[in-house]
């Protein structure tokens, strides 16, 4: 899933300063699962903003709504009748949400209420870890199922580097050296020899280095 973090309240309050009617807009996709942008979080953020407004002696006109997804035009369309009635919309979906919203409703200022951080998964309740950098050419099977692009601080294809110590990455004792784990895992699987393969420089064209990406599926396109 796409994982995110709530933006500091101070930042959000500054965004909506002087905007009277505000909509806090959640999404039932990834951000609901990582507890940052679902219906529940919409309720919490909207309540906090109302408290702030009441405290300042202002009308607390903060409304709440959560769409099925904000990355699909069909759901965004549900706001067609009402969107322009707001002075500001705070989208707490991933970064796609505020963009799709402002593309569809160009007259309405849309603000991101969360910081989109990474593609990852839940390690335990309330803890998420990064797992993929969407490089566009997945190679994890060569590394015991552990991604050296997303999980090695230097994205080394031929690791580990000289900084690996006590299973930890040189950037911090809190970060596992993924290359240590890759070697351990391949060893346990009896596949250590495969790591002798020297990987040439990765072609980053399939990643962001090839510019913004777009995918067209002729079989699905209408």
């Amino acid at each position: 899933m796409i994982v995110g973090d709530s933006k500091p309240l101070e930042e959000i309050l500054e965004m909506i300063q002087g905007k009277e009617k505000v909509l806090v807009l959640g999404c039932r996709g990834c951000v609901t699962v990582c507890n940052v942008g679902g219906e529940k979080e919409v309720g919490i953020l909207a309540t906090l903003l109302r408290i702030a407004r009441k405290k300042a002696g202002l009308a607390p006109s903060i409304e709440e709504r959560t769409l099925e997804r904000q990355c699909d035009p069909e759901y965004i369309e549900e706001l067609a009748e009402v969107a322009e009635g707001y002075d500001a919309i705070i989208s707490i979906a991933c970064g796609v949400g505020p963009q799709f919203m402002s593309e569809r409703f160009p007259k309405v200022p849309v603000y991101p209420g969360i910081n989109t951080t990474f593609i990852g998964g839940a390690l335990e309740h309330g803890v998420w870890g990064e797992r993929c950098q969407s490089c566009g050419n997945c190679l994890v099977h060569n590394f015991g199922g552990l991604c050296p692009i997303a999980r090695c601080s230097k994205s080394l294809m031929n690791g580990p580097c000289g900084g690996s110590a006590n299973k930890k990455c040189e950037i911090s004792p809190d970060v596992d050296c993924i290359w240590h784990l890759i070697v351990e895992k391949m060893d346990a699987m009896g596949r250590l020899k495969e790591l002798e393969r020297v990987w040439p420089v990765k072609n980053w064209i399939t990643s962001r280095d090839g510019g913004p990406r777009k995918r067209v599926r002729e079989d699905l396109k209408q």
């Binding site: 309240l9 529940k40 919490i44 309540t47 408290i51 702030a52 009441k54 405290k55 300042a56 002696g57």
Partner: protein, 114 residues
Amino acid sequence: MRLQYPTNIKIIQLPCSGRVDILHILKSFEDGADGVYVAGCMEGDCHFLTGNLKARRKVNYVKTVLAALGVEPERVEMFNMSSAEGPRFAQVAREFTAKIKELGPSPVKQAKAA
């Protein structure tokens, strides 16, 4: 046991303090409560193992967001007490009420009245 505790306290019963919701606490403040406290069982004595520890973490979260809004974080607290401690319940009720009185009315309510 007939114990006196301040009448201004509105008690909301929950099956376990772990059931307390961040949104419930915030709604109370939105609706003008001057203070909110959660009374949970003693740490280590939760019938559901960690309910009271989770409640404390939620209370701490509410403290941070209230502070970010400029509302005194002391207006929300977590207390641990056993269900056999009636006198302690009354004492906490009196102490918390006294502390909130000292802080004065909630700035949220004041602005509303203005």
